[in-house]
Symmetry: C2
Subunit: 196 residues, 2 copies
DNA sequence: CGCCTGTTTGAACTAGATCAAGTGGCGTGG
DNA sequence: CCACGCCACTTGATCTAGTTCAAACAGGCG
C-alpha cells in the first residue's frame, strides 16, 4: 500500500523510469517538501524517490492519512494546500519544458532552488548542489553537456561561480532577470529568443 | 474564492498565460475530468480554462468540497483518486516534453486521446479534434508547423487519415507502437538516437 | 600514484523552429 | 447559387539551438 513521505533532512529526486530504462527526473525535494503524491490515485507509486544525500524522511501511510485528515479539518486543509503547491510546481515545470530556451531553463532552475533554500532558512549565496549534471539535465529536458555549458556561460557572465557541484551566486538579481526574460545577455535585456 | 469544475459535456483546455502573453496549454479535459486543481494551494487559480466547444460544467466551490469531503469518507477517497490521476497525467506530460521526439509526442497525443475517449464510451476510430493545431503545438511544446507535418507523416504512413480536424485512426496498433517506441518508420526499424 | 567517475570543452550534425508561400473549406454577401 | 475573402491548415526552404560524438580534465579514493 502507498504512503506519502515528508523530506526531513537531505535532498531527494523523484524519477519516472520508462520501459527502456531511461529515467526522467520529475522533481527534486528539499526538507519540508512532500514526496509520493502520485500514488494517491491508484495506491501504486508511478515514480520512485531516490535520496541524493544521506537523508531522513517521515513516512505517512495513506490509511492513517485519511483517517487523521477526516478527523482534523485543519490537517485536511493543510494537505490540500501542499497538494496544490505540488500541482503548481508541476505546471511551472511543464511550462519550462515546453517553451523555454536552454539557458533560461538553467537560470530558472538555479533561481528556483535558491528560492526554496531561502524558505527553509538555508544560505542562498553559496550552495552545494545535491544532484549531478545528468540529473539536472534530465529534469530540464536537456543534454548534460548543454547544462554544463549553461553553467559555464553564467560563470563567464559573472552571474555565478562554479566549482563542480559548489555554486556561488554572485548576482542574484541578474539570475532572476535571466530566469524571467529568457536570453542570456551580454548586457541589454529585452532580446527575445528569435533573432540570433 | 476557488472552486473545482467537473467537465460534463464538451471539451476544454487549461492554459497558463505568462507575462508576455504567450499561452502554454497545460491540459485538455474531456467529460468527467476535473479542472482547476491548481487552486487547491493558494485559493487562486494559476491557469484559466477555456471551452473548446459548446460545453457544460459542474462547479464545486472549495468550502463545500471540504465540508462535504470531511463528512463523507467515500467522497474524500474519491477526490484523492481523481487528484492522483491528475498528478499522473501531468507526470506523463512532463516525460513527453522532456524526452520524446516530435513524431513520438504526436503519436502519444493521439493515442492518449483515443484512450480517454474509450473510457467515456466515445467512438475511437473517427474523431473530430476539438482543439486547433496551435493548441496541440502549445500542449506538446512544438511549433504548429511541426504538428502539421507530424499529422501528414502519420497519414503518409497509413496510420491515420486527416481532414482538418477530422481524424480517422486506420491502424491503432501501429499508432500505439509509435507512441511507445518513438520514430515513425519507413518499414524497417531504423535505430533512433537512443544508445546509452 | 594511477584509475574511475563526473564534469568540462570542442567540433560536427540534425531535429525542429522560423520564415514564407500556397491551399482549401466555409461563411458572407452579392 | 456562385464569387470573395478569411482563417486554419499545409507545404517548402532555410537556419539555428541544442544534441551527439569524442576527447581532455579534475579530484577523490583504492
Amino acid at each position: 500500500m502507498g504512503a506519502v513521505f515528508v523530506a526531513r533532512d537531505g535532498a531527494f529526486k523523484t524519477v519516472l523510469v520508462s520501459e527502456d530504462g531511461e529515467e526522467q527526473v520529475i522533481g527534486f525535494h528539499l526538507p519540508g517538501e512532500l514526496i509520493g503524491l502520485d500514488a494517491l490515485g491508484s495506491g501504486m507509486h508511478r515514480c520512485e524517490a531516490v535520496a541524493l544525500t544521506t537523508a531522513n524522511v517521515c513516512e505517512v501511510p495513506f490509511d492513517e492519512l485519511s483517517t487523521v485528515a477526516s478527523q482534523l479539518p485543519g490537517l485536511q486543509r493543510q494537505l490540500m494546500r501542499v497538494i496544490g503547491q505540488s500541482v503548481g510546481r508541476d505546471q511551472d515545470h511543464l511550462e519550462i519544458l515546453a517553451r523555454r530556451q536552454a539557458n533560461e531553463r538553467i537560470a530558472l532552475f538555479l533561481h528556483g532552488l535558491t528560492e526554496r533554500l531561502r524558505t527553509i532558512g538555508e544560505p542562498t549565496d553559496r550552495l552545494r548542489l545535491p544532484m549531478s549534471r545528468e540529473d539536472i539535465a534530465r529534469f530540464l529536458g536537456l543534454a548534460l553537456e548543454t547544462v554544463s555549458r549553461g553553467f559555464t556561460r553564467l560563470q563567464d557572465d559573472g552571474v555565478i561561480a562554479v566549482h563542480g557541484r559548489r555554486v556561488e551566486i554572485l548576482d542574484s538579481a541578474e539570475l532572476e532577470r535571466l530566469a524571467h526574460a529568457g536570453d542570456s545577455g551580454d548586457g541589454n535585456g529585452r532580446q527575445r529568443q528569435q533573432r540570433a
